[in-house]
């Protein structure tokens, strides 16, 4: 990659940069948000754990959704192609009868 830029005559400061981390807001059903910065390759389960600790809830009772889909154990911001200021929704399980 470096050679490619050199050959193309692109200076170091002009190279496109992919941030190593992303800023993500975890937003609850009341619209309250908690902002986290997380490495793009880190597991989102770390963020989920940190959120549960921050709000004092049992992690197992919370559901974390990105674009309406549940976040799975092995998901990372990179894997989900997340970008800065993206929002993860968090919800308690709902029931009805």
């Amino acid at each position: 990659m470096c050679d490619t830029f050199k050959r193309a005559g692109i200076r170091e400061e002009d190279k496109p940069r992919v941030a190593a981390s992303v800023k993500i807001t975890v937003c609850d059903q009341m619209g309250r948000g908690v902002i986290f910065r997380i490495k793009r390759v880190a597991l989102l389960s770390k963020l989920q754990h940190a959120y549960a600790c921050t709000v004092g809830q049992d992690e197992a009772s919370l559901k974390f959704l990105y674009d309406g889909q549940r976040i799975r154990d092995g998901d990372t911001p990179e894997g989900l192609q997340m970008s800065d200021d993206d929002v993860i929704d968090v919800a308690l399980e709902h029931v009805g009868g």
Binding site: Q29, D67, G68, Q69, D89, A91, V95, G96, G97
Partner: protein, 238 residues
């Protein structure tokens, strides 16, 4: 052997083949397998079960020639609409990436790519109701298994706002054909059944209130079979 014994035997047979550790395969959300036990009880359905049922319905609709212009959304869809409604003064719905999904559905309906969208809504963490928004007919069908009920005012407010973002027409509200529950546990099943019947009446007849327990067991077998199909497919891939 009567019909009831047959379905109970089917459940017993399938329970004997499924390990209760791990996640359910073949559905959008890989939920823990033990959550499926709820289908064989009289416990309330949670969003886990509603999403699984909506996944089954989406598959059925997708396979059906008449279903090509219908979208079935999961439980999160309503949360997006509520969120957009709450932030309507800031205009974030029209701009923010967060609302890409509901905006995409709205635009597909607006452009006539889809005719209708169906989904299920939880009310006050105690009750499930179903909704189908039909753009060509300019109608919103509302399914509530509680006899004598009418559309929840907050749902009316939020949906009217969302529709106004994508259509200039005035939509009218109509009650969906649905089985009324005669217990305090079946709204999750009957709201889904009402929506399924509304979208594909021949494939999904209305479940009589007296047969809700059998229907729960039949759905358990269907979900387990789908799970087993996916587990065995995965093994072949390896």
């Amino acid at each position: 052997m009567n019909k009831r014994n047959t379905i109970v035997d089917d459940v017993r047979a399938i329970l004997a083949t499924v390990p209760w550790a791990g996640l359910v395969r073949g559905f959008d959300n890989g939920e823990p397998l033990h959550q499926l036990a709820t289908y064989a009880t009289r416990r309330w359905f949670s969003d886990v079960h509603e999403n699984q049922l909506l996944d089954l319905l989406r598959l059925a609709v997708g396979r059906h020639p008449e279903g090509r212009r219908t979208e079935v959304e999961n439980i999160a869809f309503w949360k997006f609409l509520v969120n957009g409604y709450q932030k309507r003064a800031e205009g974030t719905y029209q701009e923010a990436r967060h609302f890409l999904r509901p905006r995409g559905v709205g635009e597909a309906l607006e452009r006539g790519i889809w005719d209708q969208v169906g989904f299920i809504v939880n009310l006050h963490n105690t009750h499930w109701v179903s909704i189908c928004v039909d753009f060509p007919k300019s109608k919103i069908f509302y399914g509530d298994s509680m006899p004598g009920s009418s559309a929840d005012p907050y749902i009316v407010e939020v949906l009217n706002w969302w529709i106004s973002c994508h259509s200039e027409h005035a939509f009218t509200w109509e009650m969906m054909d649905i089985t009324y529950q005669n217990d305090v546990v079946s709204c999750g099943l009957l709201s889904w059944n009402g929506l399924a019947h509304h979208l594909l009446p021949n494939e999904f007849p209305l479940i009589p209130a007296s047969e809700v327990q059998d229907a729960r067991l039949r759905l358990l077998v269907e979900i387990m079979n789908r799970h087993l199909d996916h587990v065995s497919n995965q093994k072949h891939c390896v």
